[in-house]
Amino acid sequence: MIPDLAQEGKAEEKQWTPQPQAPVVMFNNVGKTYGRYQAIGGISLALSGGVTGILGLNGAGKSTLFKLLMGKLQPTQGEVRLFGTNPWKNPAPYARVGYVPENENMHDWMTAHEFVSTFARLHGLTRDEAKKEAERVLEFVGLSDVMHKKIGRYSKGMRQRAKIAHALVNDPDLIILDEPLQGCDPLARTTIMNVIRELGRMGRTVLLSSHILSEIERITEQIVILHQGRLLAIGNLHAIREQLDNIPHTIEIDCTDAKSLARDVLSLDVVHGLQFPSPTKLKIFTHHLGEFHQRLPRIIVDNEHDVMAISNPDDDLQSILGYLTGGIR
């Protein structure tokens, strides 16, 4: 029993073996209450494979669902299963899970490379293996050129990518991302979306949460809608979407010249209305939000519009929820 100070040799064999037939994630009538406040109630859900978007407003219970799955919270009712195992007080299944918490605090005093390799070693990798693994995952999320800089000096999007990288070490079968796109600039958003799509193509099970429908729409079609701690809908986004096209959506754009932008935007057939709340603000109404979002960037780039912000309020989600709940909210 000599300590392996040289950090050589192979990691131990995993003692924990998952049940092959069990779904990756299973909730059976799960509820979680904090005192008198019910965060989620009576959720039953089983997921395996592919990218699934968990959609819901703030406070709908998305993070609670993930934290139950990661053994950070104890369910007050029902049972949670991760690879067929109860995750509460049992860290063994986390060997195959990568978790990106919503929490924005990170170890700012470390470089991304140190951060990722330190946490890689908790999977039982040696120092050298962990360094190589860190380089691999940081390359995967596109941070390899800045990986030796302190996380404290990173932008929001870089921080999110560092968090994703740390979750991808040891090549997990399940990746849980809690609001991975929140606060990111458009470029980081695109990079992260590509990473998630790539993970989906690699056959991993990915769960990601968001309160913005259009974000999820660009990544996956398989969605779960949570509302006030209850499961509202599971299934293909298109099926739900088609029914929603008669509800107009609103998009707000902050720009230097709203009028010229409006002229170009009107060339899109999906746009059916405009409003000018101020000279630098444009409100656009459309029935086809997804298509609009796909075509908008080209218009902006081709006509060299100066756009400060595109606010995509969760009006669209609000309207889905309104539609699904029949106005009972």
Partner: protein, 443 residues
């Protein structure tokens, strides 16, 4: 069959352990508060060290405890010389200068500190020792029965009787034996020992070992839970009990070398500055070693305790403060009543008994040495005409700093038992700490 490397659970544990421990050490290093806490601790210890250096460099005034350096009759011969030659100290026309052949007067300084205590240490409960250096007992015209006042059959000696209940010696001295001790010799030695024991007990085991863990260990788990960064670590395949333990290893990797450095500095300074003919007081290193062991274990136990309190409650430091107060009381109790059973319910009591045992092994004459300071050549017993004060200089400090072995066992047994108890305490706090951590929801 030889096992291939890297196949044991130990290896994997080790990877996780070193990863978290290294992480924790680096985290501490990047925090300013760590350096402030360690710096203030070092500063506090250094101030006491300065007092010690000052004490070692200042002379202690020699006191003529038996008053024989006076010349009462003004004949130019001091009383001590007149005693020796049997002339009358109150008659100016009776002095050794009138004897044939005449004797030259000797300077008064020869009769100050001229009969130092010279006691042999022995384990026996009754020790016959002492030597009448100036011959005012042996050579005097006292009757044989007067010369053997303590009735042990040997004239002009001292009988020391150990009293197990008080842990000190009773002194039964024949008259004029060891009656004018050297204040400088006694005082420096007593101050030196009192400094080592005092700084070991209150400086290391109390001040450093409580306040450093209070500031560094209370947030070991709690700070991460509050800031939310614990989310990352608890999402990895590692038990929370392990996280607790390995974070603790990182804390120890900061605190233990620090204690080693501070302890070494003090051991070197006091070893070179300390009294005695030798170049360096090597024997004292034994006491310093026991101080180091006590401080290492105390920082371990307090670290576990405070980290556990931090896990238990967001404001764990509030729970830690009454414990620190209780430990201060126990520290003082341990120095006065080392056998008190209250001490068994403390951490500091067990740590200090390690230091007392170390001191007992290095300075076996401690009880006798302390008693010599109290007896002060008999001046404190009222049997002598005396001019000096009561106790010898340094006696009070030594009496305060030293204490007996309170467990009723030998020194080695005391060290072993105390170490086992401290390790058991640390294990206990770790166990309940991780139990609570495990059932904590990390929001």
């Amino acid at each position: 069959m030889e096992k291939k490397r890297g196949e044991t659970i130990w290896n994997s544990l080790d990877r996780k352990a070193t990863a978290i421990a290294e992480f924790t050490v680096r985290q501490y290093r990047t925090r300013l508060s760590t350096w402030v806490v360690l710096g203030v601790g070092f500063l506090a210890i250094s101030v006491v060290l300065l007092f010690y250096i000052d004490a070692m460099n200042s002379d202690i005034e020699a006191v003529d405890n038996d008053g024989d350096s006076f010349d009462w009759d003004g004949d130019g011969y001091v009383n001590g010389q007149e005693f020796k030659y049997g002339t009358d100290v109150n008659d100016a026309f009776s002095h050794p200068g009138l004897l044939t052949p005449p004797v030259e007067p000797e300077p008064a300084s020869m009769y100050i500190n001229e009969d130092d205590y010279d006691w042999d240490y022995s384990d026996a409960s009754t020790v016959k020792t002492g030597y009448d250096n100036d011959g005012d007992c042996t050579d005097s015209s006292l009757l044989p029965s007067q010369k053997d006042d303590n009735g042990d059959g040997v004239p002009c000696n001292i009988v020391l009787v150990y009293d197990a209940t008080s842990g000190s010696y009773f002194v039964y001295a024949d008259p004029y034996v060891d009656e004018d001790p050297d204040e400088e010799r006694y005082g420096k030695e007593a101050q030196h020992r009192a400094f080592i024991l005092g700084i070991g007990k209150l400086g290391f085991v109390f001040l450093l070992s409580i306040f450093i863990p209070l500031f560094l260990a209370t947030g070991l788990i709690r700070d991460e839970m509050t800031s939310g960064t614990m989310q990352y670590m608890t999402a990895k395949p590692i038990a929370r009990g392990e996280i607790f333990l390995y974070r603790m290893l990182g804390y120890l990797a900061i605190v233990w070398p620090y204690l080693l450095v501070v302890c070494t500095i003090l051991a070197l300074v006091s070893g070179f500055m300390g009294p005695g003919d030798q170049f360096f007081r090597f024997a004292d290193l034994g006491v310093w070693f026991s101080i180091l062991i006590a401080a290492l274990l105390a920082t371990l136990v307090y670290g576990m305790l405070f980290a556990f309190l931090g896990v238990l409650w967001k404001y764990g430091i509030i729970l830690a403060l009454p414990i620190a107060a209780w430990e201060l009381g126990m520290a003082l109790l341990s120095m006065s009543v080392p056998e008190s059973s209250f001490l068994r319910m403390s951490i500091v009591g067990w740590s200090m008994s390690i230091i007392d045992s170390g001191a007992y092994l290095v300075w076996p004459d401690m009880a006798m040495f302390t008693e010599a300071g109290s007896w002060a050549g008999g001046t404190n017993e009222g049997s002598f005409f005396f001019i000096g004060g009561n106790e010898l200089p340094g006696y009070n400090a030594l009496e305060w700093a030293q204490s007996d072995l309170g467990l009723g066992m030998g020194p080695y047994a005391t060290i072993v038992v105390s170490m086992i108890v401290l390790l058991a305490q640390a294990t206990f706090f770790w166990f309940i700490g991780q139990l609570i951590f495990k059932s904590k929801e990390i929001v």
